[in-house]
Symmetry: D3
Subunit: 260 residues, 6 copies
């Protein structure tokens, strides 16, 4: 019978702990290694709705990208959303595992899936960390040269975004970097690597202007939409590795933010 | 004849230095107090294009909200946009004055103008700092109760945004807080003050979700569009105070970020 | 019907939050304000055994002196004692309230009870913090002048310690200071207040020698035994304030440390 | 004729400076390298009574484990015990040498002597620092399997303690770690090394409970009694190395703390 | 009979402890409050030569401006000058008192004496700290308007300097500030107070250029020569207050630095 | 045609960037890499007078040792000397390059030139940093044994100082260390290297006394005079490397500080 510890070990084989940033919180954050698992719910975030969905499904484990606990908790009460989530998981006997920056950086993880989803060719790691298995945060690759407008259409459609925010760097699109989530701090690295276009999220006003001044096409496709493509890939891998476990992708989880 | 020092003194009478945050950089950041001024260019940002416009206009002064120098400069070269701007201003004999967080916080400043532009009633300071003239960052006021969707339309139209990003807190709109620029850190204050809706900018993924969990309608109307309404107001005040000076609003400055 | 929030409000009326140290964690640390309470378990510590006792008792609330969570939690798993405790509380629907340094410092709290238990007269706060209700950490009072050896007997008997550790300061006992738990850092304050004897806990080697060199009788009566006297007092107060609630003192909780 | 510098060199050959912690203060802390030495007094601590004993003995040098100066001195006056000690040493022409964490960590030092005194077999360094001569803080070794109670008797007798404080981890004693002085912070290391029992000193309330929860027999045998066994060993080594010098162990130095 | 504590109390009546900077070390730094005093040696610094002079004189106390111990001492050995000084004082039974920044700042202290020595009129504190007795670091006063060259002659002669270093600020001398020792960091305060000339010591290259650019005559008259004038004043005060004590000014202490 | 970037590249070939300290600011600090250069002005400091001289000369570049901007600039206005300098350079189209601690440390840089100027033999780096090209801050070498007085004459004459400040260490001069500018913090390194004499600048009172106590002849020959010898050497190198560029040494720059 499959246990939480088996699935944890598997996830940390495809997204090793040493690839996580120092400040990050990854692994088993709630529950018990010895828990038997028959059903797993996979989602980008372990939000309250996802926890409820897992309870209704009868899952014993949720696997997510973002951690259940990010700021270490001083209390666990139903005054806060995170408190309610932990209380529900404990009450229902559900464990929670996550792979965050380790999944961002590992080969085949968040950013490789994002790059493939956008149809990039010759995908490479931007500034890889050397080692047995090189890894790194951002990816880059090429597309057939095209006007920015055409590429924006591709991004929106392939990531299923409602909307995009972007700045036009004044160049056609040929070499594209991607960083799922809030990676706009990597702008200089991406330029130094020769890219003309950068797809990321959570971009701030002055960062759009920096891109403008540096001549970089900068596209904010949303935190959810740039990271969520990894969810079905991760679910499929777990399902393949554990044939006796029913793996389901959250139906309720989506982006709460909308465009108008 | 009007000098830079006269206009500086006037601006610091309507947006006093003590209202600026400690980390901020405000006042005369480039040029000379003794410079005679016949033409002023007013804009949200002292970006390179604005500096060029001032030079072409023959202005001796630019007045902006954002500071010319934010991170103290280790060099002034044409390798960077900020270096090119300073070089151009020095070469052309143009001074640069700004009022940043002091203009955000002062009565009649960025946030009062934003609240009025959105048509709020009974406008008040959220958590005012006591003193002879109370001040503070955010404002709040009321609108006739309405569905969020209707209010989104008002925001978009009155601020002339291309697009908006928002999360639906599940409540009708009645009591609205505003914080021009990146004020999403003030979400808890706004809720404690009894608001149901908050208009600000540069909101991040987890902040949208926090608003969702807390039941707050959170609207990101863009940094530029939430702050720019103060520009014509500021220009009109300077023009009224200095009848011998030609005051012009930048024609080239706009938001570089677009929606798709 | 009594709710967790009622008992929390009562406890914070006798041990106000502003009397807690900044670094402390007090109040409702687990569960729900709206929980109905019929049975309360009171103990010095919310350790695993106490949580289990509460579950077996059918209590909906535990009230303790030490906090359930001291180092903010990065995870809630059964790998650690604290994780197991939180999981058990959530599973069983038990809330947890504590009053720590606020209960140490408040009039009638840990240290007043300790001073009374030792039979001190004319009990006063050492270095009181001024205010409507003065408060402070340590207490001092007098006993009839006696040799140290006799006083040691009184301490051991009244606090029901197995053993004591002490240093003889070379003086008879007349003016005694008390600080339940680890208060040996207050030795200089106690001397400046004219005391000859100090009862506290968790004393270290060099602190015994400091006392020796300063001529202070220093008695380490154990952390548990110097703080536990407050438990029945606290239980009685809650029982009196909430006649409809059954209040029980933990039967399993004791000091794990023994003398040989 | 033997000089202070000769004895210093010898002590630093058996307890090399590089084995001391960065925060420590070791070596010649008072007096003169060129002082001729005919008599040495050896003690655990260079307290005032020990200095007086050295003066009465006519010793020109005291050698101790703990440093004469730990917190760097802002003054040297007879208002403090340390000031009186330094004044006495200077007045009487007595030098002071110590070996502290270097003597704790070196092979044959404080912790090896402690392990041997307790009768451990197959003594090894816990987590040795690699190098020509591996060293480290704690030692571990085996004893014939026995109930905790029997081992407590051995500890008390062999270290000549008045009393002990301990927590019962619920296991028989077989593999024992030792750390003279305040080493309870090493509890996790000791468990990871497979030990069931740990003898150290200056243990605090929460550390006893941690040991209890982790199933470790934890014995606080007192700072003095866990370190003092090294004193006769050190004295004997110096006497052997310097046949022309009279080496004496302090008769007055003992533990000031007592049990009741 | 006069004791060290009597003289300490007197010195702290004329240079109160609260006027010393937080980082400073003042008062009784070596010896014993109860020591009887028949002879005192007064000097600017408690250097080794001064300690030797005190011993030869048979003094029981030295009173200085600079502290015996500035960096707290980790050892007291004859390897260092400060160690040799402390050893000598302890051996000879000599106590050491100093008044440093409290003597700089108090009315009638280092800087008032310096101002009077230079012949300033209408002497005032620059930026006084308010209180019962206002105090502050620097003094300022006027001289009859004169060319810098003439004033340099006055400084050299009245302070008995071998040489001076100065920068010509391009102004005649009329309003002069003084700060004995290393006070060049106060340059902006002195200018804001309307001074044209500043006498201090330990001035660095860039500070000379700052003075040059700011149009301030800056004179470095040496640390010793700007502070030493207080020595005979202090000696005379002690002699007057304690008629039974022989007070002597050090004959050996001088500036070690020379001009060529 | 020579550009600023060509001269920058050349300077960083003789004083590589990696030889600069972390806190330093070196390279192109003002202007444009693409600027064509026909005339260069070389000086120790880029002070206002030097900038004016460059403008009058029609130079497009100034090359200095000290950086134009040391404390990063929060503004560029004519209220400050540095603001006026930057404004003048920008207005006149003059770029500014500097090599500071990289020029101090590189072979053939500030300190090698200083050592040669003083006539030292067998010049070596004190504590060289290993690498392809070893480098370091201070230099040392020998002179024929002579009394200090004779060597002082040599220093004064060869560096063209108005005056010197020194302390006599009580030894003849044989092995001399040099550190141009404020290097007195290197006193212990210099002694450990076996030197009897140290020529540097900006020495403070207590450092002169430290040298006195340590028996080191310490000579403060002024910041300007110990660093300025590198200026003609640097000018000559640039002139040789760029025959089409007119290289001139500043005529106006000198030390503002004088002796009296």
């Amino acid at each position: 019978m499959t246990k939480v510890s088996d699935i944890l070990k598997y996830i940390e084989s495809i997204a090793p702990r040493h690839m996580a940033e120092n400040w990050d919180n990854v692994g088993l954050l709630c529950g018990s290694r010895n828990q038997t698992v028959t059903k797993v719910l996979v989602a980008l975030d372990p939000f309250e709705g996802v926890c409820r969905e897992a309870a209704e499904l009868g899952a014993e484990l949720i696997v997510t990208h973002h951690p259940l606990i990010f700021m270490p908790a001083k209390s666990v009460t139903d005054d806060t959303s995170i408190g309610r989530s932990i209380m529900m998981l404990c009450r229902e006997g559900i464990s929670a595992i996550n792979a965050h920056t380790n999944l961002d950086q590992t080969p085949g993880g968040v950013n490789d899936v994002l790059a493939r989803t956008l149809g990039l060719h010759d995908i490479q790691i931007v500034n890889p960390v050397a080692g047995d298995v090189p890894y790194g945060l951002m990816r880059m690759g090429t597309v057939p040269e095209q006007p920015l407008d055409r590429f924006l259409g591709t991004v929106k459609e392939s990531l299923r975004c409602d909307g995009l925010r972007f700045v036009d760097g004044g160049k056609p699109v040929r070499k594209v970097a991607v960083g799922g989530g809030a990676c706009s701090g990597g702008m200089m690295e991406v330029l130094d690597a020769g890219c003309d276009t950068f797809v990321t999220a959570d971009v701030k006003y002055n960062q759009f202007w920096d891109a403008h001044d540096l001549g970089l096409n900068l596209i904010d496709a949303g935190h959810f939409h740039t990271e969520n493509p990894v969810v079905p890939v991760l679910a499929a891998k777990i399902a393949e590795a554990f044939p006796d476990v029913a793996v389901k992708i959250s139906e309720t989880h989506h982006d709460c933010m909308k465009y108008y």
